[in-house]
């Protein structure tokens, strides 16, 4: 028997709340990093990555989260190995991260499939924490968390209507649509 296969949704699952959170993510992330998203949206190379991620079940809100996390990483970790926010100021900076006035977009190569995957998996753990779950062990197995979120929290099923961020990745959808 596949794990979770016959199990009901977890009692912490709340579709309304979760959809609200997804909607907030679309709104906040698109407001925080508009230039970077525009830059990535124009790239064919990035569109191919998006298509691949979508085929694997990831939604656009997962991808946006992954992009912003990678940007945070790029901003704070360059030359600062082992950096993590210590002061309240630094923590707030992470929470309220946004592009500065003269922001220069990061290069496409910084958003490779591998790098995005790293952040997608990381977001699973933080997602669980936001839902109120606790991690008491250090060796967390992302595969199992993913399975749990997929089967019992509908993490990979939920989405809300949103604007197009990656038009080139969407093209195929329209091309393949029956006329």
């Amino acid at each position: 028997m596949e794990q979770f296969g016959n199990l009901p949704l977890h009692k912490r699952y709340n579709e309304i709340e979760m959809k609200k959170a997804i909607s907030n993510r679309y709104r906040n992330i698109s407001k925080a990093i508009p230039r970077q998203l525009e830059y990535l949206g124009e790239s064919k190379e990035f569109a191919a990555i998006v298509k691949k991620l979508r085929r694997d079940g990831w939604k656009d809100w997962h991808i946006l989260l992954s992009i912003i996390n990678q940007m945070l990483n790029l901003k704070h970790f360059i030359g600062k190995t082992g950096w993590y926010p210590k002061t309240e100021e630094e923590k707030n900076e992470i929470l309220n991260f946004k592009e500065e006035e003269y922001f220069q977009s990061f290069c496409i190569s910084e958003f490779s499939e591998e790098k995005l995957y790293f952040h997608l998996k990381g977001a699973l753990i933080t997602g669980c924490k936001v839902m109120g779950f606790e991690f008491r062990k250090r060796d967390i197995k992302p595969g199992k968390i993913e399975k749990f979120l997929r089967m019992r929290m509908k993490y990979f099923d939920l989405d809300v209507p949103h604007k197009t961020y990656f038009p080139l990745a969407d093209e195929e959808l329209y091309v393949n649509k029956p006329t």
Binding site: M1, Q3, L7, E134, F135, K137, D139, K144, I145, F148
Partner: protein, 411 residues
């Protein structure tokens, strides 16, 4: 005084009605193959309705619980229930109860066959036949299951023969004389086919007047005897080593392996600890929890080592959660359900520790689930069905379980 009596009688009648209703509900769940829900109803029924006057209903309840556990593959828990059913139903010379005793024995045989412990399976079979003879059991007493019984033993024995022939010829050589002696058609046909090929099986079928069945059987026999047929069974099949118990069971997608290395106690006592753990996992609302592990291994090492506290070891294993409990004689006594609160507290704590490792639910939620079990009576049931064990302890001082006499553990 009258008021008091009315309250007591009223309560008892109310409890019995509630128990009957829960039992009816459990049958419905059983028919729907929802065995865990059926077990929960049976628990309610048992704790509300148990008394000497309702012995037959209690035994029925125990047998039904055993059936549920068998269907779920929780054989130690099933054995626990059916042993109690067998002993309780043997207390009075009542025809209905005798039929329940025979039914329990057939189920016990079935359990040992599933566990692959052939010696015990045959032991229950022998006891069943002996009691049938002693009580001059008729068809009414044996009920519809009586007719099926030989068939169940037969098909299981046939499977065991095929496995033994493919895996360990020495075991097959031990089984073969038993098969010949019992003259059960399926196992005879399979055993002869394994030894002398498909033609020998056909000949055997003819000798046993099973010609008509042969056309239905031949494909299956041919497949089993072919050299590339691999009969996969659990590792402990035909394990005659009484000192070592290995049980595998699965619940809500988690595979549990329960090992007991028992160098000191009567095996049944070690098994009852396993039964308590199995019953805990069935009765717990694990589906409410966010379990993120799919393999858990629990190992109990019981010995006469001279330390008083139970030692727990966490073994780091990337594949699964592994826990080893080293228990000495004195500590083991404390774990036995009838010896009181200390054991219950320890097991409850260990189960909480385990849940903390396999689930990502907040601590408070896990505690709430354990409290729920306690309030519902499921925890007490999981830990050996307390009241019934006490009842047995008072009424059956010398029970024969698995061929050994159980000595009282009370100081």
């Amino acid at each position: 005084m009258l008021d008091y009596l009315q309250t007591v009688i009223g309560k008892k009648e109310g409890d019995l009605a509630e128990a009957e209703f829960a039992f009816e509900k459990s049958i419905l769940y059983f028919d729907q193959k929802n065995y865990r829900k059926a077990l929960r109803e049976l628990t309610k029924s048992k704790f509300k309705g148990i008394s000497q006057e309702t012995l037959y209903e209690t035994v029925q309840n125990l047998i039904a619980s055993g059936d549920c556990y068998i269907n779920l593959g929780f054989y130690l828990a099933a054995k626990n229930e059916l042993l109690m059913a067998y002993h309780l139903s043997g207390l009075y010379q009542d025809k209905l109860l005798k039929s329940q005793a025979l039914l329990s024995l057939r189920a016990l045989n079935n359990i040992e066959l599933h566990r692959g412990i052939l010696r015990l399976a045959l032991w229950w079979l022998q006891l069943h036949k002996m009691l049938c003879h002693h009580w001059r059991a008729d068809e009414q007493m044996l009920g519809p299951h009586g007719i099926k019984f030989d068939g169940e033993v037969d098909s299981s024995l046939a499977c065991v023969s095929v496995w033994a022939f493919k895996s360990d010829k020495a075991i097959f050589n031990d089984i073969y004389p038993i098969v010949k002696k019992l003259q059960l058609p399926l196992s005879c046909i399979f055993a002869e086919s394994l030894l002398g090929g498909i033609e020998a099986g056909k000949k055997c079928a003819k000798e046993l007047n099973w010609d008509d069945e042969w056309c239905k059987l031949s494909d299956m026999v041919e497949k089993s005897v072919s050299s590339d047929f691999n009969f996969k069974v659990e590792e402990n099949i035909c394990n005659e080593d009484n000192m070592y118990i290995c049980e595998n069971f699965e619940i809500v997608g988690v595979k549990f392996t329960l090992k007991t290395q028992n160098d000191y106690f009567c095996n049944l006592l070690a098994e009852s600890l396993g039964a308590a753990i199995q019953a805990f996992f069935v009765n717990g609302r694990l589906e409410n929890l966010a379990i993120i592990e799919d393999e858990v291994e629990l190992e109990f090492k019981i010995d006469t080592w001279d330390w008083e506290e139970i030692q727990t070891e966490n073994v780091v294993d990337s594949k699964c959660i592994r826990k080893i409990y080293k228990i000495n004689q004195k500590s083991f006594n404390k774990l036995l359900p009838e010896t009181g609160k200390e054991g219950i507290y320890w097991i409850r704590l260990q189960l909480l520790y385990l849940l903390l490792e396999i689930c990502i639910d907040p601590l408070e939620d896990l505690k709430k689930e354990l409290d729920w079990m306690y309030k519902e009576g499921a925890f007490q049931r999981a830990l050996g069905m307390g009241p019934l064990f006490l009842y047995l302890e008072d009424h059956c001082k010398k029970e024969v379980y698995d061929g050994t006499i159980r000595k009282s553990t009370a100081p």
